[in-house]
């Protein structure tokens, strides 16, 4: 079983990101589970979303405490919380930021990858310039960085589950995927 934990703030689309990832992976024939822990339902409140992926039905109903991968939609959360708590050694941390991994003050025993999802989201007019909705771009990057899911499945999930700005969201995922291709290969 592979487990992921998303850290985001209300309004960024972290919960939907978990759902889109689950739907995308489900399309590839695996069993999935995802659920959020909400704080209060307001913009800006920290939210965690958990995703489990398995070849067999998933009975476990707990939060994810030792994730294989972390996805950070808002880098400001890093200074307030020990976001890496329980992350397995060698696990990937994907961060939405314009900074370099070395500037993030995260332990170097992890594989830290940065994607400027906010920039990509703004280019596609997702959310506002101050509050871009970064979830679909982050998922595109995640597909590339972890290989957990094909970008085609992410796009299919977006088309099925996102009723507004569907094409823009799908394009943001693809752009982020392609931007990571260059970064990773470099």
């Amino acid at each position: 079983m592979i487990e992921l934990r998303f850290h985001s703030r209300g309004g960024q689309g972290g919960v939907i990101a978990g759902k889109l990832l689950a739907v995308a992976i489900f399309k590839e024939g695996k069993f999935v589970q995802t659920f959020p822990t909400f704080g209060v339902e307001r913009r800006g409140a920290p939210v965690m979303t958990f995703v489990r992926i398995s070849d067999r039905p998933i009975r476990l109903r707990t939060q994810v405490y030792s994730p294989d991968h972390l996805v950070i939609l808002d880098p400001s959360l890093i200074q307030f919380y020990d976001v890496t708590l329980g992350l397995k050694d060698g696990g990937t941390i994907l961060v939405n930021t314009d900074k370099d991994p070395s500037e993030l003050n995260l332990p170097d025993r992890y594989r830290i990858v940065c994607v400027n999802a906010a920039h990509i989201a703004i280019q596609h007019k997702l959310g506002s310039i101050t509050q871009p909705i970064v979830n679909t771009a982050v998922l595109g990057a995640l597909a590339r960085v972890t290989g957990l899911v094909k970008i085609e499945s992410v796009v299919a999930a977006v088309k099925e589950e996102v009723p507004f700005k569907t094409e823009a969201n799908a394009a943001a995922a693809v752009d982020a995927y392609n931007s990571m291709r260059e970064l990773v290969l470099a």
């Binding site: 489900f26 999935v32 959020p36 909400f38 209060v40 998933i58 009975r59 109903r61 707990t62």
Partner: protein, 395 residues
Amino acid sequence: MPQILALTGNEAVAYAMKQINPDVVAAYPITPQTSMMQKFADFVAGGEVDSEMVLVESEHSAMSATLGAQAAGARSMTATSACGLALMFEILYIASSYRLPIVMPVVNRALSGPINIQGDHSDTMGVRDAGWIHIFSENAQEAYENTLQAIRIAEHPEVLTPVMVTLDGFIISHGVETVTIFDDDKAKKFVGEYKPRYTLLDTKKPLTLGALNFSDFYFEHKATQLEAFNKSAGVILDVGREFKKTFNSTECYEFFEAYKMDDAEFAVVVLGSTAGSVRMVVDDLRSRGVAAGMIKLRVFRPFPHEELAKALKGLKACAVMDRSIAYGGDGGPVHIEVRSALYGIHPAPMMCNYIYGLGGKPIEPEHILSVFDDLKEAVVKKSFKRRVGYLNLKE
């Protein structure tokens, strides 16, 4: 062909409602309403159901509108959660006393205060004596299946009693998992057409609903209501059997599922989503030679006292887990019932109660493991550290 989809618990129940295709659905359209009604409203907007959707100004009105429509002979549904259910309280009793077979999915969430929107069983436990049949679900699949079965149970001519089907807030309601949605035709055939036995609009058989019953007939009215309620037990089992056969299911649709109980010495009695994690702990303990088992209670009202007593009789010790408080009672509401079920049973197991998970407090395998450890220790020491305790509470 059945469809296998990745759905939230709320969406899974909305699919059940789509297949039920109620004549009328009334709902209060903002929080504490959940995404279940949002999904169902999509089906209405897309013309995939024939339902008349009525948006009302409160849950008190949602239940009133549902009740009115059902009394007029329409198959009617609503859904709610937490404080919304609390606001319906008055009308819940009226619906059951009118013997209206309303089915209502409820997302189990905490009641204020302090203000909290997360999962626990306080809301439906608070209306446990409202005369509604009360069925819990372990996962989204069960929430879907229980909703389909609930229609048959509620509308059975011997029962004619409303049913609430519950699913744990967020863990099931907002969590995505793999769900099998049965073939539309087959599901619709199972649910069947609604042929109301009595309706307000049938002028050939005039009917009074909402009459005044003082000391002359109120008590008698209530006694007949209880009689019908108790008949639902047999109907629940019959409907479960038919469902299992119709859909070739291997799951358990009885009052409770007895998991690895045949030779168990220690067991946990639990409701809802936590059963999934208890199941894993039981498997783990079994692999280490501990005779552990689980009772996953599915039907809370009517409570299966006799059947449960039989299932628990041979155990050395058992723990009942409650996700709500019964203030001043002997532990939580499930514990009160299970303890009462075992009165006069010999040999009765040692029994303790844990309150857990209030307001969405996480419940982890280690906590469940500690429950089994406590049971083993209690058997050796012949007493519990605490007969009613807490799990995962900050000291």
